[in-house]
């Protein structure tokens, strides 16, 4: 449809004019509040307390969300918010990975706060337009878009009924609509969800950045926890921001020179070492597909196994050689030389409403290849790219879709569900056509796709209650915790990673801690106390990225040549110092590593208490499915019998001679579940929590987080 026709059909609901202002050392000092129930637009000051205790990014997001909601707020209540905030470092162009936004909301998957980080231009352009954060509340009756013009100082809420919903079409339409010309398109950033987000609980947000070489609006995803579902439930079709004067000093930094020097140092490392290390510039995170297979960590057939002979068909070089365009700038924000946002161009779609279209597919990332591929036994690169594309444009999280589909496939293979229940879909492992049908059904809101789209937590309840399935078995094989689907790593052989998934605030997403190599392979953290220390440091360190608007990948997907000579190479000390220098350069705050951990601890404990306030966040909520810990079925045990028999003998002193597989499985399970409980005790202690997982008042005082509203929540649980 003609862009002019679309725009002429818009109906202005509210307009707000503001002074553009100036950023001071990374902060604009104000947030943009938009209530779409009342068509109200306001400026809210950012207080010194917010900067001191919450820093920015997800810290600001969680603080606003806490104040906007009550202990009984549900994800689809009008008071639930979507907050987008970059953080004080967000938007610098000197250091790779400095354009991230953090998005917070109460999740339809977990019924508690979720945070999801995302690249693309929206976060930085929002700040340069004069706003540290966007706080979106309320529900509209009709489809709307919100347009922030950072050149002229206006915010508008417009009814927009004719535009598409799917991300790749709507991103293009609105980029075209709000850019003055082709060159101006890079100054427009759009946030969309997609049609699938309307009918599932796993909706995501697409954040665009315009790619002038490909001439397409590229899509980066705030994928986890169903924030796209909240977005569409509010009847928001899109957010648009426009700002036309991006420069390297717009944060008005405290010391520009240190930013320049630190950035140049890392750019040189990337140039010299990336081809010998992770090859991020060629294939991005998908470089580890075959590595995970070789270490028996790749999820195969709903995490039953860790490798498969057919992984060779989807290994990274297949995508490099046949699909991923090489030699183009793939940074999702200016200045990112790591450039991991890879894409397959002119990809011909074979199914669905866009069948026959040649499109740009943003991906595959590792999680897409593993979740949509090996976990569903779809060892077909074109199948993976097709599912990747449709997940993105429909606004569906690839990780939740992949893990939930793998669960449904295992249930189908085991006869727990059948063709009658699936509406005729043959959900065998490896059936690409059925997986694609599920996705298209999610987009249309029909069929078994809607059931899978509710996520594993709700599928388990449905299959047990309606179809008489064994609830205990479903709990064992359903790879979800707290309502969120696991991301795509097998954790059976790493106790630390079982905690890295299970002892998290938002659910089993590896962005808090990925400890498998340190634990399982390197054997660097053998005791419970060692593991607990790692499960304190790494989640705090990684939380910190989300406070400042930083990407984690340039921290450890590239390492300095002399890193091996440091005392703690896993932490990449030189890069940690880089980050401390950058924060100093932007804000003038001179932090040490202890301060860094302390800043994160404040927000991390706040989020834990937020969970408790909503009836979660206790020890019982940190229980994990047994498949994350060990072999649930006889086939799983026997496929790695030598390993398990050996462990029974060496670790427990159990004589396996003459024992049945079932007997051995029971002993192994008892041992591993006990190990997880002991780990939980050690981690809670290290984090300053009591045995029920509740932060102690004493610890909150130490952190300076003994705010009355927090004490009120935890005082009865001490």
């Amino acid at each position: 449809m003609d862009i002019k026709v679309l725009r002429d059909n818009h109906k202005l609901l509210a307009e707000y004019k503001y002074e553009l202002g100036k950023i001071d050392k990374g902060y604009t000092g104000r947030s943009l509040f938009v209530n779409i129930s009342e068509n109200k637009i306001e400026s809210k000051p950012v207080s010194q307390m917010m900067k001191d205790k919450f820093v920015g990014g997800k810290g600001f997001g969680l603080w606003y969300l806490w104040n906007a909601t009550t202990p009984s707020t549900k994800w689809n209540d009008p008071e639930n918010e979507i907050i987008i905030c970059g953080g004080p470092v967000c938007g610098i162009t000197q250091y790779p990975g400095s354009g991230k936004s953090l998005v917070c909301s109460i999740s339809p998957a977990t019924d508690m706060p979720i945070d999801s980080n995302v690249g693309g231009y929206f976060g930085p352009l929002l700040k340069f337009s004069g706003w540290d954060a966007l706080e979106l509340q309320g529900k509209s009756e009709k489809d709307i878009i919100i347009v922030i013009d950072g050149n002229n100082g206006t915010v508008r809420i417009e009814e927009a009924s004719l535009e598409a919903v799917d991300g790749h079409v709507l991103g293009e339409q609105l980029t075209e609509m709000y850019a003055d010309n082709e060159e101006d398109k890079r100054n427009v950033a759009v946030v969309t969800a997609g049609s699938g987000a309307e009918h599932t609980r796993m909706g995501l947000l697409n954040f665009t950045f315009y790619d002038p070489r490909r001439k397409v609006a590229r899509l980066k995803q705030a994928g986890r926890g169903g924030i796209g579902t909240v977005f569409r439930d509010k009847k928001v079709k899109a957010l648009v921001v426009k700002f036309s004067s991006v420069k390297g000093d717009l944060n008005n930094p405290f010391d520009q020179g240190i930013l320049n020097r630190t950035g140049i140092k890392l750019h040189k490392e990337v140039h010299d070492l990336d081809p010998k290390q992770n090859n991020m510039r060629k294939i991005g995170t998908a470089n580890i597909i075959e590595v995970m297979d070789e270490y028996d960590l790749l999820p195969v057939m709903n995490y039953q196994y860790g490798n498969h002979p057919d992984t060779q068909k989807i290994k990274s070089t297949v995508f490099i050689d046949k699909y991923i365009t090489q030699g183009v700038q793939d940074g999702c924000w200016y200045g990112c030389s790591l450039a991991c946002a890879k894409a397959a161009d002119n990809f011909l779609l074979k199914t669905g409403p866009y069948k026959g279209h040649k499109v740009t597919v943003d991906g595959p990332e590792y999680e897409n290849a593993a979740g949509l591929g090996s976990n569903c036994a779809i060892f077909d690169p074109e199948g993976i790219l097709e599912l990747n594309f449709y997940c993105d444009t429909y606004g569906i999280d690839t990780i939740s879709f992949g893990t939930a589909t793998a669960f449904a496939m295992e249930c189908y293979e085991r006869g727990i569900i059948n063709k009658e229940i699936t509406g005729g879909l043959e959900l065998n492992f490896g059936n690409f056509d059925s997986a694609a049908q599920l996705l298209h059904q999610m987009s249309k809101g029909e069929g078994f796709g809607v059931v899978v789209g509710q996520g594993i937590h709700r599928m388990k309840e449905l299959f047990a209650e309606k179809y008489g399935a064994d609830a205990d078995f479903l709990f064992d094989i359903g790879m979800e915790q707290k309502g969120l689907e696991y991301s795509e790593y097998g954790s059976k052989e790493s106790l630390a990673q079982q905690g890295g998934y299970g002892l998290t605030n938002k659910g089993p997403q590896h962005d808090e801690a990925w400890l498998i190599f340190m634990d399982m392979v390197n054997n660097q953290i053998p005791t419970f106390e060692d593991k607990a220390e790692a499960l304190h440091y790494f989640p705090m360190f990684r939380t910190w990225f989300g406070l400042y608007g930083l990407c984690k990948l340039p921290w450890n997907d590239i390492a300095p040549a002399n890193n091996k000579f440091t005392s703690e190479p896993a932490k990449i000390p030189e890069h940690v110092q880089n980050y401390l220098d950058i924060v100093y350069g932007v804000t003038g705050k001179r932090l040490g590593t202890d301060d860094m951990v302390r800043e994160s601890e404040r927000v991390y404990n706040f989020q834990r208490i937020f969970n408790i306030r909503l009836g979660k966040g206790l020890r019982k909520n940190d229980k994990t499915p047994y498949r994350s810990m060990g072999p649930v079925t006889k086939e799983e045990y026997e496929s790695r019998q030598e390993r398990y028999d050996g462990q029974l003998k060496e670790k427990i002193g159990y004589d396996v001679t003459g024992k049945t597989t079932e007997e051995k499985m029971a002993v192994l399970r008892s041992y591993r579940e006990d190990q997880y409980e002991k780990l939980t005790d050690a981690v809670y202690k290290r984090r300053g929590w009591n045995s029920n997982g509740v932060p102690t008042i004493e610890h909150l005082k130490e952190l300076g987080m003994d705010l009355p509203e927090l004490i009120e929540v935890v005082k009865g649980l001490q």
Partner: protein, 65 residues
């Protein structure tokens, strides 16, 4: 017998760092190798002989994902 990452590992006469990596299927590109605390450079993996009783560390650098 030698130690590899603090676990017992069957030693054989003439065994090199590269041999151990092949047996263990260690293919990750960022591995730090130390024998008895001394670094071994990647270009020496095929020629560096490991002696009986050595303490070998093969530290995979990935704390991310």
């Amino acid at each position: 017998m030698i130690k590899v990452n603090n676990r017992d590992f069957q030693w054989e006469q003439g065994m090199t760092v590269d041999d151990i990596m092949k047996i263990k299927k260690f293919s990750w590109p960022k591995i730090i190798v130390k024998i008895n605390g001394q670094h071994v450079e990647e270009e020496d993996y095929k020629t560096r002989i490991v002696n009986d009783g050595d303490d070998v560390q093969m530290l995979h650098l990935l704390a991310g994902g």
